[in-house]
């Protein structure tokens, strides 16, 4: 039974991370360089530019509604006359906050539980694996739907919903990895020598799990970016006037046939950032030599 699960989960792990190789950039270091460069550029735009150009992304201007991109407004203006350039720039921060927050909320309990469950066959392992088998069938959208109804719309609720529904993913991957590493001779040797279980987990197992965890975390951040924008789109996003990218898309949607810039630029921002993150995660995985 256990080996069946291990087999399934090994496959799962590989399929979860496999889907982003870029053979066009065959060299791992080149991929890493491109990804880091892109991310630096995005980080610069997100965290430095807003401080240099003090234009308020929430400032409304009745006389400048729906202006197409121009010299003055490089990305045009929206239905309230707000400058889209500053909204997209300022939007990066809340967008990242949700994505990273969601991964933290999902990864911390997922990893902890996965380590414990994977290191020793126990009742806890059996019960929790059962719960996770059920849990995994709950799409984040539905969790967000229920949570937003209960707690109102906020960036925190978004992160919470996405995080909660990603716990099973981290749990499964880390549990499988832990099981694999626990059966390595040196860990078994340590166990038979009577080493403390906690110490084994922290000193031997976790460091070996870390590389695959790192690429999983990176790729999850990218997926959270996409998921956040989808949730914002169905009306579960950050409350106004947050310029979170998904909210920008949701707001601009009604005007897309007449003002294309309202929906193009936030979408491009999401796609470009996700691309950079995926590329980074992919290169990171290959860098650590755990190629699928």
């Amino acid at each position: 039974m256990a080996s069946r699960i291990a087999l399934r989960q090994q496959r799962y792990q590989s399929t979860a991370t496999v889907f982003f190789p870029l053979p066009a950039l065959r060299s791992v270091s080149l991929r890493l360089k491109v990804a880091v460069g892109l991310l630096l550029l995005i980080g610069l735009a997100a965290f430095v530019l807003p401080n240099l150009t003090p234009c308020d992304p929430a400032a409304i201007n009745p006389s400048e509604r729906m202006l197409p991109p121009s010299h003055e407004h490089p990305l045009g203006t929206d239905m309230f006359g707000r400058d889209m350039f500053s909204r997209v720039m300022y939007g990066a921060r809340p967008t990242f906050e949700v994505a990273i927050g969601a991964v933290l909320i999902g990864a911390v309990p997922g990893v902890a539980l996965g380590l414990v469950a994977g290191s020793k066959r126990s009742l806890f392992d059996q019960i929790f694996t059962q719960v996770v088998d059920a849990w995994i069938a709950l799409p984040g959208v539905l969790v967000a739907l229920v949570l937003a109804a209960a707690m109102g719309r906020s960036l925190f609720v978004l992160a919470l919903a996405l995080g909660i529904s990603s716990i099973p993913l981290f749990y499964r991957v880390i549990r499988a990895e832990t099981m694999r590493i626990s059966s390595e001779p040196y860990v078994e040797a340590a166990t038979s020598l009577g080493a403390d279980r906690k110490a084994i987990l922290l000193r031997h197992v976790f460091p070996n799990v870390a590389p695959s965890l790192l690429s999983l975390v990176t790729i999850s951040i990218g997926r959270m970016l996409l998921a956040t924008s989808a949730l914002s789109f169905i009306g579960l996003g950050a409350p106004p006037p947050s310029p979170e990218w998904g909210s920008l898309l949701a707001e601009g949607r009604a005007y897309m046939e007449t003002s294309w810039w309202l929906i193009w630029y936030p979408g491009v921002a999401i796609a470009l950032t996700t691309f950079a993150i995926f590329l980074f995660g992919n290169a990171l995985r290959d860098h650590h030599g755990c190629s699928a």
């Binding site: 039974m1 080996s3 069946r4 087999l7 399934r8 496959r11 799962y12 399929t15 979860a16 496999v18 889907f19 982003f20 190789p21 870029l22 053979p23 066009a24 059962q130 719960v131 088998d133 059920a134 849990w135 995994i136 069938a137 709950l138 799409p139 984040g140 959208v141 539905l142 969790v143 739907l145 229920v146 949570l147 937003a148 109804a149 209960a150 529904s165 990218g222 996409l226 998921a227 924008s229 989808a230 789109f233 169905i234 009306g235 998904g246 898309l249 949607r253 897309m256 046939e257 929906i263 979408g267 999401i270 796609a271 470009l272 996700t274 691309f275 995926f278 590329l279």
Partner: protein, 308 residues
Amino acid sequence: MKFIYRRLLLFVPTLLVLSFIVFLMLEVTPGSAATAILDDAASDEAAALLCAQLRCDQPLVMRYIGYLSDVLRGDFGVSIRSGREVISELLLRLPPTLIVSSGAIILALIAGGLIGSLAAVRHGTRLDIIITLFTSIGASMPTFWVALLLVSLFAVRLRWFPVFGMGDGLAPYVLPILAVSLALVPGLTVLIRSTVLEVRQQAFVSTAFGKGLSRERVYLHHILRVAAIPIVTYVGMQAVHLIGTLVTIEVLFSLPGLGGLAVQAALDRDPMLLQGSVLTIAAITLTILLAVDMAVMLLDPRIIRTAE
């Protein structure tokens, strides 16, 4: 075979756990659900009536047990908004969801299979690079955003397909299926490409080529058959992702499916309906996962052997 039975049996407790999670989730929603749908002018009697239906006065565990025993008898309660049995609402909304999800999986398999095999066959050429680049970009784009652009282009401007996700024949389903399949195509393409490349190296393929079989025949009968295992596994793993996308796409296309129903039920604060639809969607996801497990076991008997 014993193993398959055990897997089927395990499905039941999993469903139970799932129903309890869903039940708990709705429990955290504050306030009395009974006040939710009633309008400003509604009377107290109406509220009391609803409360009785929802077992407002009982403790949590009793409510869950009550709900569960009703569900087991096929009684999912009554929708506050429509006054109809939730079960009939669910059955009404099931077909569009099934059509779109199965259509999307099939389309994604065909498209991913074709493109992925093409990339593998032309491994290392410019075509391969272009395909891989496009799939990478495709995987980075929000699905609903692409769907919006598809609607704008094919429905509003070119008028090839109806704007509305309903109506006559299959035409209204084409765009939603296309949109949902986009959530799977990039991953499948990459997976199929690498699997085909891997399998091609193996001895039995060279033997097949050596026997003088045509290239297409080798690909279809030898390579794709072996590649089917990771592909099926991948589709199963992406089931949750697929269902999540489906919800968004149903809202976007005004499709009368289960996802749209769940969203609407949440907005209406229609507790029995929300519970029923979330449970059904999750059960569908679980069933897909189960089916995938079964399929993998049938395709690869080694798994059952290791298990037993």
